[in-house]
Amino acid sequence: MEYGNQSCENLLLKLQELTFAAVDLNLYLDNHPENKNALADFNAITRELNKLKKLYEAENGPLTNFGCSESKYPWEWVNDPWPWEII
């Protein structure tokens, strides 16, 4: 899927949709570790999510703290807006 031309807002929404699916599948797999279909879906969503996160972070700085994402100079983690300010 091509996301290069998507606006920042759409990319964030896509990340939220994928993360939500990953969370729900994670919970399902906690109860059904032997379900191959669920695991395959989870891994596909995770791969897609990681791809989009790299794209998002290239534009907007690190999504996660404490060593999960690198930052450009100057330290981008402290940039605004924060999630509750994005209206």
Partner: protein
Amino acid sequence: MWVYEKKLEHPVKIKSKDLQMAKFLMAQYGGPDGELGASIRYLSQRYTMPTGKTKGLLTDIGTEELAHVEMIAAMIYQLTKDASPEEMKAAGLGAHFTEHDNAIYPADANGIPWTGAYIQSIGDPITDLTEDMAAEVATVYEQQCDEYGSTRYIPPNY
């Protein structure tokens, strides 16, 4: 160990103030059936669960509930942003304003601060899981949906 992801789990884009709704949403934040309680409950119970699956499950649910706490706080923040003291007083939030200004504080709709007394973590897995199921029934949400109509909970302009 927890890391933080700098995005909300679900968009919260409230364009206009609604202090009445903010007051009722506090129940979801710091109330006995709120997300903060849910999160601390799961994250406390997980230590004495007997299987990897239950430890994983409670860790994951507790972590997701923290994301819900964030969303409720974001909603209250946006609903009360730039509210004047007079508006807060008219909405019955005068006392809240005195104590906290427009800040987010974990208390219920009546201003009673969140307390560990709202949760139980007893160490017997059946008892703990049964308490979790009782808490998840979410009657508070249904009552708020009845009060406000369920479509109000979908972020406007979404």
